[in-house]
Amino acid sequence: MPFIPHTEDDVKTMLHAIGVNSIEDLFDEIPQDLRINNLNPIAPGLTEMAMGRDMKARAERDAGLACFVGAGAYEHHIPAAVWQITGRGEFLTAYTPYQAEASQGTLQLLYEYQSMMANLMGLEVSNASLYDGASALAEAVLMAVRANTHAKEPRILIAGNLHPHYRQTIEALVRPQGIILETLPYNDTTGCLETSRPKIDNGDIAAVVIAQPNFFGGIEEVDGITDWAHQHLALVIAVVNPIAMALLKEPGAWGERGADIVCGEGQPLGIPLASGGPYFGFLCTKMEYVRQMPGRLIGRTVDQNGNPGFSLTLQAREQHIRRAKATSNICTNQGLAVTAATIYMSLLGASGLADVAKASHDHSSTLCKALTALPGMRLRFNSPCFHEFVIECPCTAKALIHTVLKDNILAGLDLSLMSPELDRCLLICVTETKTAQDINAYVQAIKRALQHLTSSLTVED
């Protein structure tokens, strides 16, 4: 039987020990009118070989595109050792380290992860992960409302140039608790937050959410916004790309006092694109807010012989103890993805991570320059960018994307996703994985597509 080791003799002996005649007898407490006897609408089982052929065919249907889309999920080179080690059964098939003595491997790894992540963000504490970047931001918003005792109302100001899916996720996850979400507008020329800020009184706002880089890839002037928020007794929540933090100023150093809560998507740190998950969300904060933090935390301590060891700590904040009054309902997190990220960060080191960031930035600038040299293509926003930028095309972004798909190039993201008036805008990402040849092939494909699309437009006109 698939994955069931019992022999017929085993079953007989076991039923005898229980004192029943059949396995069916073991379900005698289920009321008869609720019983079903099969799951026949589901197909019969397959062998591993047949399944292999089927899934390989499916994987091939989805393969083969050169990816120039980012928008929250980024293709980076993943060193071979990352998933070779992460995939070891001892990491893969363990569960939450409730029995600390039998989980020192995972616990120590998570402590190392917390150390690296807090350091990368320039803050004192990191938790052991949340589900993904978007849901981590929702948790950060809830945390800020708990932590900010000056706020008169649970009101949050959110950057208008935040990833629209992140905004939707926050709406879904925090609205039921009566939290008020308002938008901090961005400037139509720079794509960055407006330098003139709304007039607010102290205590009007619990927190301000700033994305660095923003959804358009632009780099925000974070110091001024951070200080402005703090002057009005609001906390600052930074949503950042962890690779970018090897190059850009870390949130702990923003403004006079630094961001209070930092969160984001951990996927760029060694996690494959994989249709959108599993990724992991990270969340860091200042020590003064540690008890308001959701999710698991690992602490270093000693055992009864005085030797160092690691265990889950501050568990009283969590749902399995605090139940209705927990900081969050989160239980299972994304341990395996964090394992990969920890190994990735160790392999690359600070300088390797900075090289990835700088190379991505450089390749992105190269493509941007080449594209804006094409007729009708212009840079939509004029702020400096990290590794994504927005090009306004002479045709709809949708048409352009579909035309170059024929060359097996995924040209970028159609920004009508963000708003209908951006339907000619293409959000393009280039990372260190793209060579000069890849970039050239992209430019040539776009050139051909533009000729085709604009000539057909002329005919229609």
């Binding site: 005792t149 008890r291 568990q315 009283a316 904040r317 103890i321 605090r322 009054k325």
Partner: protein, 127 residues
């Protein structure tokens, strides 16, 4: 262990010491022993108005966290700031140095408060 006779108690294991219009509040010896070694105490904000039964504070041990409910109506006038660094004071001496907060009483004391003898009887029953 004998209970301090001059204090009043609640069924949820808080104690109250009333002096003129001020009440000092803490948790009982029994409560601290159930919780075990405390690691953190979250005390109410000064000037906070509390009604009987309101969540007033949280005491947290390694494996548990318990709400402390206000046994009286009043306004918080002082909190035991020594607990921030030494929550173990509650374990060591719950009825004196381990006090939690003081309120300025508003109105009458609730009738539901127990005498030391009544509280002891309740504990005996729980045994």
């Amino acid at each position: 262990m004998t209970l301090p006779q001059e204090l009043r108690y609640t069924t949820t294991h808080e104690w109250v010491r009333v002096e003129n219009d001020t009440a000092t509040i803490g948790i009982s010896e029994h409560a601290q022993s159930l919780l075990g070694d405390l690691v953190f105490v979250d005390l109410p904000a000064l000037e906070k108005t509390l009604a009987v039964g309101d969540d007033a504070a949280v005491v947290e041990s390694v494996k548990a966290a318990a709400d402390v409910y206000s046994p009286v109506d009043g306004v918080v006038i002082e909190v035991n700031s020594a607990l921030a660094d030494k929550p173990e004071l509650i374990n060591q001496d719950p009825y004196s140095t381990g006090w939690l907060f003081k309120v300025k009483l508003v109105g009458e004391l609730p009738l539901s408060l127990l005498s030391a003898a009544e509280y002891q009887a309740m504990l005996n029953e729980e045994e």
